[in-house]
Symmetry: C2
Subunit: 412 residues, 2 copies
């Protein structure tokens, strides 16, 4: 069924790949104008989705992710303008000449057609599409059922923006998928250049395991903060609070805190007092139970869990090495942090921890395309190939080497 969609998307993408930078930027600025102009219509559609969500008993975190507000839309609009203002990721890169005079140039070109499977958040329909179009790609969107009315309005606006500057609307296609069969079809759609799953761990696992098209794994974040013996404890409490409570339902939120035993007595009572006001439940080892009132004993499962909610796992460790080993064993290679004022300890942590982003005296919550200065993000890659960490424009391009000759051969 999707072959026709793919074919149209390929054609639209081929045209898009040939456009000048200014024309691709125009799509985004026109879209920003349309969002401002049609804010009431977007919010009305969003309201409809929210009512349905309430009727169908959608849990609060997902309902929160679904909700748009005038402020949220304004921030998404300003993201569009930021992306429009970023350098064009397409075009010539490294250029070199072989001894025989053959000139090679590595050109950054679009991947082609990108598929995106995502849940709840309608903001993705603005952010991810802006990056896809700016980098000259077409995109097939398979959004969550719960956001369908909002997504439909937004996708229509994208098509309106494309048409208004003479480009094919097929570069952005929202797939209507009531029975989830199209999500599965996307995973096996031969010719699709990249499929990105954004959402919960089970969605991502399914896509990574089942897909036969190229996939970039995103977003499961079992993130740790290690509070070292030489930590500034005021700073550690502040970073822990930000990491846990800034937005507990996102992948860069903290799930486990590891505390050096030398500072457990000074740190844990203070940290637990601050987090208690927010209703955070602690799951700790025996040493933590002694110091945090109301904590329950953590199980192996707790170390492995991305709570995405008001729970925190906590463990006292005897050394930096023990902390590193815990992260190696249970982490998801997303974002990991250390708080320490001891320079060699910080350096060793940064070098030894194998994750997309590693923080020294800062919150893991900065793992975000917007915060990184990418204007938006198409997801946060937790794999090592192609892209790692927040994915901006570059992640949606590939390289083509073009060779300009004058009859060169290898003269066998």
């Amino acid at each position: 069924m999707l072959e026709q969609n793919l074919l149209k998307a390929k054609e639209a993408g081929t045209a898009l790949a040939q456009t000048k930078t200014a024309q691709r930027n125009d799509i985004l600025t026109v879209m920003a104008g349309l969002i401002r102009e049609r804010t009431p219509v977007i919010l009305q559609a969003n309201q409809l989705d929210l009512v349905h969500a309430e009727e169908s008993g959608l849990d609060t975190p997902r309902a929160n992710r679904l909700k748009l507000s005038p402020d949220k839309l304004a921030s998404l609009t300003s993201g569009l303008l930021t992306v429009a203002g970023l350098p064009d990721p397409l075009g010539g890169g490294r250029r070199w000449t072989l001894p025989n005079g053959l000139v090679l140039e590595q050109i950054h070109v679009p991947l082609g057609v990108i598929g995106l499977i995502y849940e709840s958040r309608p903001g993705v329909t603005i952010e991810a599409v802006s990056l896809a179009l700016k980098s000259g790609n077409s995109i097939l969107l398979r959004g969550g059922r719960e956001a369908q009315h909002t997504n439909r309005v937004l996708a229509d606006l994208w098509q309106e923006a494309l048409k208004s500057i003479g480009l094919s609307p097929s570069a952005v296609q929202l797939l209507d998928d009531p029975d989830r069969s199209l999500a599965r079809e996307l995973m096996h759609l031969s010719g699709l250049d990249l499929l990105i799953p954004r959402g919960g761990a089970s969605l991502i696992r399914t896509v990574v395991e089942e897909a036969t098209v190229p996939v970039i794994e995103t977003g499961v974040g079992n993130c740790h903060l290690y509070v070292d013996a030489a930590a500034d404890l005021d700073m550690a409490v502040k970073i822990l609070l930000d990491g846990k409570m800034g937005n507990p339902s996102v992948c860069n939120a903290l799930e486990t805190v590891l505390i050096h035993e030398d500072v457990k007595d000074a740190f844990l009572p203070r940290a637990s007092e601050v987090l208690r006001q927010y209703g955070v439940a602690w799951h700790g080892d025996a040493a933590v139970l002694d110091l945090v009132p109301g904590a329950v004993l953590a199980t192996e499962e707790d170390w492995l869990t991305e709570y995405l909610g008001l729970h925190l796992a906590a463990r006292v460790v005897g050394s930096l090495d023990e902390a590193i080993e815990h992260i190696r064993r249970y982490g998801s290679s997303h974002s990991e942090g250390i708080v320490t004022n001891h320079y060699p300890t910080g350096q060793r942590f940064l070098a030894a921890v194998d994750a997309a982003v590693v923080y020294w005296n800062a919150s893991t919550r900065f793992s975000d395309g917007n915060e990184f200065g990418f204007g938006a993000e198409v997801g946060i890659s937790t794999q090592k190939l192609h892209a790692r960490g927040p994915m901006g424009l570059d992640a949606l391009t590939t390289i083509k080497t073009v060779a300009f000759g004058s009859g060169q051969t290898r003269d066998f």
Copy 2:
């Protein structure tokens, strides 16, 4: 069974990742010295493999790929020194500061442990390993049974080189796999950071389809040369000859020539006369049959086949668009070439053909890490993600973003 190998390789890799540039270069220069010193031993082992190959009836192209000579070893040794002299792919890259003062730096780090499944060519045991070690990775080698004695000597020399400068020999491990069970195990070895298949189409297809570890697809090259109406026909004949006969058994060899109808009468008789001396069999469409004595009618299968031998498919086309469409339909996105002196035609071909390397007035035979100036290659990627075209040192690294803070939070 391979879990222990992987664990040791990980440990060795962790140490390797922390070495200084000079130390990793030393491994390669020591290896170059060892190859020079032990050339007779290497050739003796190779002779043993060649005798076995003859006894077991290995076909000539594979036997040729298996054979080492003093000249070939000298060229591999000089490749080692070239790689040693290349810039270190590890270390800091882009560095930027967020408005709140948080400093981000993208560090190039090794992938970790790389698996390589390859056939016949023992030179790979020198080239691929040199790139892996220079970029701080460990490597598990699963070479072809037919090259086992040669590979064993070379792998032992690598381990000797590693030990001589105080590094763990486990960074290079040759897997003995008499019943091919380890090849399969590698495809599912959780924790392996990258698996690269190098060899025939069926090996590559099996690995790409079966593997659950990250894979980079390499090397199937169904390469085309389009001889345009505005081609310099002397140049076209020379490029066709080089592409077909430079080394017919490799992936950058030409398999199909497309000829604009305006030049078919001038080009085909000359081209066929030159190639006849080498015993090349032509498979052509009706127009080709009229002009090439002895040509047989091409079938759909011919357009799709990577002959890797003394066969050539040929088709007369009415336009550039028809040539582009043929390549889009039958090409393998490896290397494609055009011969033309008409500037807009060349430009359109470079822009429209979607392949790793696209040549204008030059032989496709330059798609090779050595020719590109990479000193060696770990394979030629025909996929779009992570690496495309000849893979040098950069293809074996990933990025880690490190963040240097002073207590920054997002202050929700």
